[in-house]
Amino acid sequence: MNITLVMCSLLIGGALAWYAEGFKAQSARWLALLTVLVVGLYFVISITATGLDFSSLQVLVRLSWIDSFNIEYALALDYLSIVLVLLTLFLAIICILVSWQEIQTKTGFYYFNLLASFAGVIGVFTAVDMFLFFFFWEVMLLPMTALIAIWGHENKHFAAIKFFIFTQVSGLLMLVAIIAMASIHFQQTEQVSFFYQDWLTLDLPASISFYLMLGFFIAFAVKLPSVPVHSWLPDAHTQAPTAGSVLLAGVLLKTGAYGLIRFVIHLFPQASMDFAPVAATLGVVSILYGAKMAFAQQDFKRLVAYSSISHMGFVMLALFSFNAIAYQGAVLTLVAHGLSSAALFALAGMVYSRIHSRDLSNMGGFWQSAPRMGGFALAFTAAAFGLPGLANFVAEFFSLVGAYQRFPLMTILAAFGLVGSAIYGMVLFQSAFQGKEQGKRQGESKGQHQKGENKINDLSKRELLVFSSLLALLIIIGFYPNLVLTFFQDSDLRLAITSTAGGQ
């Protein structure tokens, strides 16, 4: 099992795609797709082939890197990271497929950036040296920012700068916390260490650990994103190209949740316990605020972006309830939301490619001309508002059931978020696919359509493939959530959480 190989081949594949595009147009996308497929296959095969027990963290590589600070190059995997890496690789294929026609300029460099950000994300999910983690955490921002800033829409520079500054500044807070942890390790053991598993053994004084926890928490809350540090997300989503949005919603937001699970809760159990009411409140506020704001949007992508804030609120609430069921719900929400929001952003991209607008008032009546697209859209909005039978339902149900045991009142409030999501989901679907055909104005001004008609082309084979694979996964997980959950039945994490919860 060689994660380094996975990351390197993604990078090299990206570089090759960039290089090849110079010789033969449109070779980049094939190369990129091929790279991701091969890498994904390799990952799946080698995971199943190794006999390691991933229910606890298995360190795969550990080399010394920067001796002056005793920094190591250390990668590890457990079921949590495996699930997230698999999600990443799957969405990588989706990303490449949705950009197939959309990206027409500077194509080679585009695919390089896309693959580089996937490599960075995989690094984030596997690094267990904290310096290395921070390194990947920041490095994955660079290609993502480039994706927004070069191939984005009208206001791309603003959105890219906002995205970068939010994550970078919060990242510096985390860096300070990381350095402080290393120096505490030095005080206690006479040796500097950035190794995650060394830190687990530290005995942290309560007064300091609260501030350290806060440093990590802010960085991850920005990425998640949680109210009040969410404001970069709608802008970044709206301006990013389709694949950028899919990548952001499907994968990058998950790094925040992953950080909360792996680092905040594990490294500072007591401090996060004390902080839990605040964090849970933030989660509930995000759920309700996100749902309310989503309802108020006229922009297709902005609406989905706010709905992401709402769904990520469930993750926050569930994680800070310190309950095994809620934790399983949170992990499932990560997967389910990764798939369903990726689908909705892909849908937004396909609509945009047909009518060159994201404005809901320019849409309407698409069902007449594109029934297949309409059907998928209905299924995905249903997934977003948690229709039973789809993955999101199980995920949110578990989260709420678990959270109820710790925060009954807040969970009741959070459940209203489900009602809200049904409302904005229906608003989205109705205004785009039902009602009168409203394309006249748009059609005339843009000259995209013939006068008086609002016909759009139905899904192409490629788009059909994207949607059906996403929907199939949503349904499979919805009916058989154990596919994901078995890995988290008796993980050490659950034990750790319940034991600390019980100890209180």
Partner: protein
């Protein structure tokens, strides 16, 4: 003078002897090519001598009462020499478009390097002042060197007057310190009685240094002089003069820090330094936000960088001094690397489009036309912004380590806010490189410099700088094992 002393002083001696020889060379024959080659040869010899010194020197060597040669100073001198070689090469392209022969320019350059060398080796106020004046006076000549240019008088006068007042402040401060400690050496053996005079002496001394380092609120000259001076000279100001002043400040500070801790009234000096640092970080970054001219922008960002660097002075426990030195030198190395990279591009585009005023927009769309040069800018800018993968990030990591050890949470907060603000203008430059020229109206033909071809020599050096910026960011041990 023993063999060892002579050996450890050899880099300085090479420069001093070389500048005398250059004077003779000018008297013999005036040829710009010759003097350039000779200057570069001197620098390279001194560089080799310094490198061999760093390899072999195990302990610090006291050379007379005036100087102390140690590896920190040596490393700083290597940085100075590298920057000066870059300055020499850049000025050769700049000086060619004039009929006159500019031999004097190179002599001044050698004197600046000599002054900087004296500063980084000094262990005594007399050596400090000697080096300081040698550096300043030669720089005044260089700042106003292109006398036909619009800004040359303004900027050289500004620089002259302000560095003269800075040195008088400094002298007064030195006198006050001497009146209390009774010694001009940095290291004071006896425990003198400290009083108001000692702390005000340190205060005045700091004011003098702060002028040179252009720390807020003594930064007002920086943008004008940066903009007005010829590009290679600006590079000299931004690198050589700052490295030398900062290193000598550290030498003084850490020699007397044990006294400073014991002295109550001097503790306020620490507060003063943190105020200077916070002001510089914030003011430098905020004022850089709206700049269009690249040199002015770099001037403001250098104010902020010197503010970050002041954090290392907050270390007062003797066992952490090594960390402070390592951090400062690494940060300086990353800063010099990034600054030299940017000035290479600046000189190249300026040379190709004959306009002295260089705005950020002149670099528009460079990534699509001249990928190598644009990559160099990106690496340099990201390094200045402290983004991982580049040397600047490791520098910032070192500084944060120092700050956490010294428990200076306010400074950390200012550093975070400052770098957040800094990202605005750094990213603006990077985005300009990527912006599509064809999107903008009729701007495609105005800036041919962006697409100008690089000579093979130039391409190689650009690649070297890109690699250096990234390698030091990914594998910093290469550098940090030196000191």
């Amino acid at each position: 003078m023993t063999q060892l002393m002579l050996q450890s002083l050899s880099p300085l001696l090479i420069i001093a002897f070389g500048s005398v020889l250059s004077l003779l060379l000018i008297a013999w024959r005036r040829s710009q090519k010759m003097i350039l080659t000779f200057t570069l040869a001197i620098f390279v010899c001194a560089l080799l001598a310094s490198i061999s010194l760093v390899m072999n020197l195990t302990d610090e060597v006291q050379v007379t009462i005036l100087m102390k040669v140690d590896n920190y100073g040596n490393f700083a001198f290597i940085l100075i020499l590298v920057a000066s070689i870059a300055v020499g090469l850049l000025s050769s392209t700049w000086l060619t478009h004039s009929v006159e022969v500019h031999d004097e320019f190179f002599i001044l350059l050698q004197l600046v390097v000599l002054g900087a060398g004296v500063l980084v080796m000094s262990d005594h106020f007399a050596a400090l002042f000697l080096g300081f004046e040698l550096l300043s006076i030669a720089l005044v000549g260089m700042v106003g060197y292109s006398r036909d240019s619009q800004y040359s008088v303004e900027s050289s006068f500004k620089y002259l007057i302000l560095s003269a007042s800075a040195s008088s402040f400094m002298l007064l401060g030195i006198a006050f310190i001497y009146s209390q400690s009774g010694s001009l050496s940095f290291a004071v053996e006896a425990e003198p009685i400290y009083s108001f005079f000692y702390s005000s002496g340190i205060l005045l001394f700091l004011v003098g240094v702060a002028f040179k380092l252009s720390l807020a609120p003594f930064h007002l000259w920086t943008p004008d002089v940066y903009q007005g001076a010829p590009t290679p000279v600006t590079l000299l100001l931004a690198t050589v003069s700052k490295i030398a002043m900062f290193v000598v400040l550290m030498k003084f500070w850490f020699s007397q820090s044990s006294l400073i801790v014991n002295n109550d009234s001097v503790l306020s000096t620490l507060h003063l330094i943190s105020i200077l640092a916070i002001l510089s970080m914030l003011i430098g970054n905020v004022l850089a936000l709206k700049q269009q001219n690249i040199k002015r922008l770099l001037a403001y960002s250098s104010i902020a960088h010197m503010g970050y660097l002041l954090i290392v002075l907050m270390i007062i426990s003797p066992q952490s001094v090594t960390l402070a030195w390592q951090s400062a030198l690494f940060y300086l190395a990353a800063y010099v690397l990034a600054t030299v990279s940017l000035f290479i591009v600046l000189q190249f585009t300026e040379y190709n489009h004959e306009d002295i005023e260089q705005n950020i927009n002149d670099w528009q769309g460079m990534f699509w036309k001249n990928r190598l040069l644009a990559l160099l800018i990106i690496v340099a800018i990201l390094s200045l912004a402290g983004i991982p993968l580049t040397a600047g990030f490791i520098g910032k990591f070192y500084l944060l380590n120092v700050a956490v050890q010294a428990q200076q949470w306010w400074l950390i907060a200012a550093l975070i806010v400052g770098s957040g603000i800094g990202l605005f203008y750094y990213l603006r430059i990077v985005f300009t490189l990527f912006s599509d020229v064809s999107e903008e109206k009729n701007s495609s033909l105005i800036y041919p410099a962006v697409g100008a071809k690089l000579t093979p020599m130039m391409s190689i050096s650009v690649i070297v700088f890109i690699l250096a910026g990234i390698i030091l960011g990914v594998y910093p041990d290469l550098l940090s094992q030196v000191f």
